[in-house]
């Protein structure tokens, strides 16, 4: 399985459709899709008051630490996590062994509904990601990152760090 993730248009919109459907179906506040290395893939819902980079990093770290806890008691993985707050709650589950789905919700919905609907979405996303990973293994799809990119990137690095 390739380590990096490259997402192309068609898959990206298919993923977003699934997330939007889940958002509407559960009445959740925000849904984020994060890779296990802590990078945000995409999100749905209200992210205006949320530092999504930090959220993605900490969710991935949370999940990674919990996986280690699981292995310490002889479990392969805890496939879902739930954090309950006074107003906001967080439900997290793993998809295709590689991607983390985080649902932030409040009292406008219930954990039961979130859990059931998320399970359905997870199954759909699993199909999409399996497809993406097999495409990445075959290395098909457009490759727009060229040596031209490297040159432009070096110029940006010079500007940014001023060295």
């Amino acid at each position: 399985m390739p380590e990096g993730i490259s997402l192309f248009e068609e898959d990206f919109w298919a993923i977003n459709d699934e997330l939007n459907r889940l958002l509407q179906g559960t009445n959740a506040r925000t849904i984020l899709l994060i890779d296990k290395a802590g990078q945000l893939i995409t999100s749905s819902g209200d992210t205006t008051s949320l530092d999504t980079s930090s959220f993605a990093t900490l969710s991935a770290a949370d999940f990674a630490a919990t996986s280690q806890l699981a292995s310490l008691i002889g479990e392969k993985e805890f496939s879902t996590l739930f954090h309950q707050g006074e107003k906001e709650n967080l439900y997290v589950c793993l998809i295709a062994d590689r991607v983390i789905l985080a649902v932030i919700f409040d009292q406008r919905t219930t954990l039961g509904l979130v859990r059931v609907k998320t399970k359905n979405t997870a199954a759909e996303l699993e199909k999409i990601f399996s497809d993406i990973f097999s495409k990445l293994e075959k290395e098909t799809g457009p490759r727009e990152i060229s040596s031209d990119f490297t040159k432009a990137a070096e110029e940006e690095l010079d500007k940014l760090f001023g060295l």
Binding site: E9, S54, F149
Partner: protein
């Protein structure tokens, strides 16, 4: 490994600061945080103990800008250096695109550098990665202190074939900090093309 999103035209890459405890990894990242233009940096997150030792990691996102239509962003992480935090260290290496090894130049820390570098290679192996695939840049830190090992001696044990670019640093004063970061960023972006 880097996340390339062709639909939202974004590239995210992960850079990890590795090295022995109290070697200056967090100092590097904090210096970067204080010097970068607020418009291009995110929030600095530190999961540290009360005594300011890194418990899990520090995290700082940095926007490089838009390159050939791709919004390019680096995520900088530090690992906890102390030996007994290896489980956390290993987790942070997941999906790494480039590594900065911050070595402590002090004579009494000589062996800890070697141990840390070996530990890093073991941890990379767990993800089927190696330094043949992941760019590494070394920073010999704390060059301002009186009791330090010469760079030649450090090179002999940490970089015997001179395979990796290295910089001398005084992270507390920012010396070598951006040079090291820039070099690893360059390698990471090159590897994407």
């Amino acid at each position: 490994m880097a996340l390339i999103n062709y639909a939202s035209r974004e590239i995210n890459a992960k850079i990890v600061y590795y090295g022995p405890g109290l070697g200056g990894k967090t100092t590097n990242i904090k210096y970067i945080y204080t010097k970068l233009n607020p418009a291009i940096k995110g929030k600095l997150i530190s999961l540290a103990t009360e005594l300011d030792r890194t418990l899990f990691f520090d995290f700082l996102p940095v926007d490089l800008g838009t390159i050939r239509g791709f919004k390019t962003r680096f995520h900088l992480y530090t690992v906890p250096g102390q030996v007994f935090y290896n489980a956390s260290r290993k987790l942070i290496l997941k999906g790494v695109d480039g590594i900065i090894f911050v070595a402590d130049s002090q004579i009494e820390r000589f062996d800890e550098n070697i141990e840390s570098l070996e530990n890093m290679q073991d941890n990379l192996k767990a993800y089927n990665l190696s330094l043949d695939k992941i760019p590494l840049v070394i920073q010999y830190n704390k060059r301002d202190l009186p009791n330090i090992t010469s760079v030649e001696e450090l090179q002999k044990v940490l970089n015997p074939q001179n395979k990796y670019q290295y910089f001398e640093g005084v992270a507390t004063q920012g010396i070598g900090v951006f040079e090291t970061l820039k070099e690893v960023c360059r390698h990471v972006l090159k590897a994407l093309a």
